[in-house]
C-alpha cells in the first residue's frame, strides 16, 4: 500500500529524474563549442546591459500594485462562474455591479495619470568639462512625484 507521503515521494523522484535526466542526456549528446555570446546571460535576445542589482524605476511598482489588485479581484469570478447557472439573473446583475465598481476604480487610476509613463523626466547626473564635476542629484521629492 502506498501512503499519502509515498505518493508525494514518487512525485518528487519523478520530478528530479525528469529534469536531471533531460540535462544529462543533452550533455551527453550535444557538441561542445562555446563562444562568448553563447555564454552570456540570456536577456530576451538583447545584448545584456549593466548589473543585475540595479534599482528599478518606482513607477514599475505602481503599475505592479494596480495589476495585483485587479488581478486578485478577479478571483471572485471563478466561484461565480461555477454556480452561475443555478443563480441566474440575480447573480448576473450582482457581478455587473461588482465589475462596475472595479471599472470606476480603473477609470480613477487612468484619469489620475497613474498609468502614464511620460511623467516629468528625472534629472540625470550631469558632468561638465573644465569647471569640475557638477552633479545635480535627484531630490527625494522629485522621485516621489
Amino acid at each position: 500500500m502506498i501512503t499519502d507521503f509515498g505518493r508525494v515521494l514518487i512525485f518528487l523522484i519523478v520530478g528530479v529524474v525528469f529534469v536531471a535526466g533531460g540535462l544529462i542526456v543533452a550533455w551527453l549528446l550535444r557538441p561542445n563549442r562555446p563562444y562568448p555570446s553563447k555564454l552570456a546571460t540570456y536577456e530576451c535576445g538583447e545584448v545584456p546591459v549593466g548589473d543585475t542589482r540595479v534599482r528599478f524605476n518606482v513607477r514599475f511598482y505602481v503599475v505592479a500594485l494596480i495589476f495585483l489588485i485587479f488581478d486578485v479581484e478577479v478571483v471572485f469570478l471563478f466561484p461565480w462562474a461555477v454556480v452561475y447557472k443555478n443563480l441566474g439573473w440575480f447573480a448576473f446583475i450582482e457581478m455587473l455591479v461588482f465589475l462596475g465598481m472595479l471599472a470606476v476604480g480603473y477609470a480613477y487610476v487612468w484619469r489620475k495619470g497613474d498609468l502614464d509613463w511620460d511623467k516629468p523626466a528625472p534629472k540625470v547626473p550631469r558632468y561638465e568639462k573644465g569647471i569640475g564635476v557638477q552633479e545635480t542629484r535627484m531630490t527625494e521629492e522629485e522621485i516621489a512625484v
Binding site: 489588485i69 486578485v72 516621489a144
Partner: protein, 118 residues
C-alpha cells in the same frame, strides 16, 4: 531511551497518513514563524511579510477544517478566498505607506521612524 523509541514508532506510524492534524501543525508552525518575524524584525516590510504568514496560517486552518468537516461545510473555503483578496489589498496599501515613509525618513526601519514623542 525506551520511551523515545516507542514515541518514534508511534510517530512514524502516524505521520504517513495525512489527516487534519498534519495541516494544523503546518499552520501552527507558519503562525509561529509569522509572529517571530513580527516580533524580531524592525524593517516594516519584514513585519508585513510576517503578517502575511499569519494570514496564510489562518487560511490553511480554514481550508483544512472545511475539507475535513463532516457536513460538507464550504464556509471555510469561501473565507479563504476573501482573506486572500484582503491580504492583497492590505499588502498594496501597506507598501504604498512604506514607500511614502521612505521618502520622508530615508528608512523603513520601524524604530527609527519616531518623530512623535513617546
Amino acid at each position: 531511551m525506551g520511551s523515545l523509541g516507542s514515541f518514534w514508532n508511534e510517530f512514524s506510524a502516524w505521520l504517513p497518513h495525512v489527516q487534519l492534524a498534519h495541516f494544523l501543525i503546518v499552520s501552527a508552525i507558519l503562525f509561529a514563524l509569522g509572529i517571530y518575524a513580527i516580533a524580531t524584525r524592525r524593517n516594516a516590510i519584514m513585519v508585513l511579510m510576517g503578517v502575511e504568514l499569519v494570514l496564510n496560517a489562518a487560511n490553511i486552518n480554514f481550508i483544512a477544517f472545511s475539507r475535513y468537516s463532516t457536513d460538507m461545510n464550504f464556509d471555510g473555503q469561501v473565507a479563504a478566498i476573501f482573506v486572500i483578496i484582503l491580504a492583497a489589498a492590505e499588502a498594496a496599501i501597506g507598501l504604498a505607506i512604506v514607500l511614502n515613509i521612505y521618502h520622508r525618513f530615508q528608512t523603513v526601519n520601524v524604530d527609527e521612524v519616531s518623530s512623535l514623542k513617546e
